[in-house]
């Protein structure tokens, strides 16, 4: 597939602190930018740090062409990004990476998709929820499982509730509520994003219940387009197969969860 990514200038429309160290920044996209899909990311130039920062797309409105990036302040780069003001401009390459395979999963039917997000991993799932809901004409029952370190870091719960039943776990394991729900019903697929320990645990749970699952991964990134080979992750197509390295930026960031090899 020929990438539709473009390197463009985007302008900040608004920047709101929505939780502890979590900022919701809206960008007006340049007309040359292709609409992003859930799971894709923008590689954002940040003045004052050397490398760009890969930020997942948390929302996109096709009519206004406004994209939403939710940023967790994790270091100097994201701190500078979190201080961007309305009217500030920056370059970003987007949309990059492979999206969650939502269209393939839904196949025209009303989908039964569950979302599992840990911490800042909830961000791309907000766009997934919105996208699935629009695809299903608002009739999709999207079940969401969110987990946060503490109450101050929690965001997005009320937004997810607008799309369907949402469970919120603070300081525990997001997978506990999921395991309970999977005991009653198996959805068409689970889309996930979160820290590696959460995804690793989710991998085992999904294998036990036989549910299809896709996860968006994170790794220290260089070019963001697939050329420099620094953002590698271990992938094994089938259990027992040799582990090969794939590029998180280009072959991912979304991978079928059973194929991901966790340390």
């Amino acid at each position: 597939m020929k990438s539709a990514a473009r390197d463009i200038v985007s302008r900040v429309i608004s920047n709101e602190r929505i939780a502890d160290r979590i900022h919701d920044i809206r960008f007006a996209l340049h007309s040359a930018a292709e609409p992003p899909l859930p799971g894709q990311f923008a590689h954002v130039s940040v003045p004052g740090v050397f490398l760009r920062r890969p930020i997942s797309i948390a929302g996109f409105d096709p009519a206004s062409r406004i994209a939403r990036l939710i940023v967790r302040v994790a270091g100097r780069g994201t701190d500078i990004l979190s201080h961007m003001k309305t009217g500030d401009e920056t370059r970003m390459t987007m949309p990059l990476g492979n999206p969650y395979p939502i269209r393939e999963l839904t196949g025209g039917e009303i989908p039964d998709i569950w979302l599992v997000g840990g911490g800042i991993g909830a961000a791309p799932l907000l766009y997934a929820a919105d996208y699935i809901s629009r695809l299903a004409g608002g009739r999709a029952g999207i079940k969401t499982f969110l987990g946060f370190r503490d109450a101050a870091a929690a965001f997005g719960a009320s937004e997810f509730e607008a799309y369907g039943e949402t469970s919120l776990d603070i300081g525990g394991f997001v997978t506990d509520a999921l395991t309970e729900s999977l005991g009653k019903k198996i959805p068409d697929a689970i889309l996930a994003c979160g820290p590696a320990p959460m995804l690793s645990s989710l991998q085992k749970i999904c294998a036990r219940s036989g549910v299809r699952a896709y996860a968006s991964l994170e790794e220290r990134m260089g070019c963001g387009v697939g050329a420099c080979l620094v953002c590698n992750c271990g992938i094994s197509k089938d259990a027992g197969d040799e582990v090969s390295y794939k590029r998180v930026c280009r072959d991912g960031p979304v991978f079928p969860l059973p194929e991901v090899v966790f340390k």
């Binding site: 050397f50 490398l51 220290r220 260089g222 070019c223 080979l229 620094v230 590698n232 390295y245």
Partner: protein
């Protein structure tokens, strides 16, 4: 305005070459712009057999550069010739095959295969700091540089460029050793060995513990070594290390480089190729330079 330069008998339409390891085999960047704007492309380092490379993390950021420890992940020279080269050799750029290995036999076998392929130049990578065997171990002293260059020279039917490591005590003697053993050109510098530590966890950031530093952080070192090497040898020198603007490129030409390579700039700015080309043209017209060759080795020290 003439931008073209001659690199050991191969004509480059301009002196800008994408540096190995930052440009893959060209496909990813060709989706963002027409890669024929480059004078040449040095492909991701190739080994005779495929290599998986090092585990993550492979990159650490510094204030004006990066440390990487990819460890020569590549599909192997056969897959390159079969699957990548037919496409790349149609793109209207000089194709430089960067070759690495763990043993002299690895190098000679890969070079033998590439000598039968349509690549334009072979770049001998004896300076990769991120592999356990071979790589930089060949490049650290004049004697070993001479040995591997000489062995490869016998099998190499293409112009042979030897890429030198900066992790040496005397770059001039290493450059001369490569030239004496049959190199048609010298390229330098590869990355400078470094490391990064996470103080909170007291662990190295890179899984390989050490990595290679590149980017503007190393530009002064690279300029100095380009200048020293170009004075030491008669064959053309290709300079690199932290070039991020057209003026940076001009500085390397002035220091004595016939052409330059641009690496890390591709990572921080995916459209660095066409940008730096335009900037170099602007620099030349603003400074009344009609021919890029006028800049080469024009450093004034009087």
């Amino acid at each position: 305005m003439n931008m073209s330069v001659d690199l050991c008998g191969v004509k480059l339409k301009n002196p800008l070459i994408a540096a190995s390891g930052t440009f893959g085999f060209g496909r990813e960047y060709d989706e963002l712009y027409d890669i024929s704007c480059w004078g040449g492309i040095s492909v991701k380092g190739l080994t005779n057999e495929p290599r998986t490379g090092n585990p993550p993390h492979r990159i650490a950021e510094t204030s004006s550069g990066i440390l990487n420890s990819v460890g020569l992940q590549n599909p192997g020279v056969d897959a390159f010739i079969r699957e990548e080269l037919p496409w790349l050799s149609r793109m209207g750029v000089v194709v430089i095959a960067n070759v690495a290995g763990a043993t002299t036999d690895d190098y000679t076998e890969a070079v033998r295969k590439l000598s039968d392929s349509p690549v334009d130049i072979i770049e001998l990578n004896i300076s990769c700091p991120n592999v356990k065997e071979g790589g930089v171990h060949f490049g650290i002293c004049p004697k070993s540089v001479s040995k591997v260059t000489g062995a490869v020279r016998k099998r190499c039917l293409k112009p042979l460029m030897v890429k030198l490591s900066p992790n040496v005590s005397d770059i001039a003697s290493v450059a001369r050793a490569a030239e004496d053993a049959g190199a048609d050109a010298i390229s330098l510098i590869n990355t400078i060995t470094g490391m990064a530590i996470d103080a909170r966890t007291r662990r190295p950031i890179l899984a390989n513990i050490t990595g290679g530093l590149s980017g503007p952080a190393i530009k002064p070192v690279a300029l100095r070594m380009t200048w020293q090497a170009s004075k030491a040898v008669a064959v053309p020198v290709v300079g690199m290390g932290g070039i991020d603007t057209g003026t940076d490129a001009a500085e390397f030409l002035i220091a004595g480089a016939r052409a330059v390579m641009i690496g890390t700039a591709n990572i921080t700015d995916p459209t660095a190729g066409p940008r730096i080309r335009a900037e170099l043209e602007n620099f030349m017209s603003e400074n009344g330079v009609d021919d890029a060759n006028e800049l080469v080795g024009s450093l004034r020290t009087d």
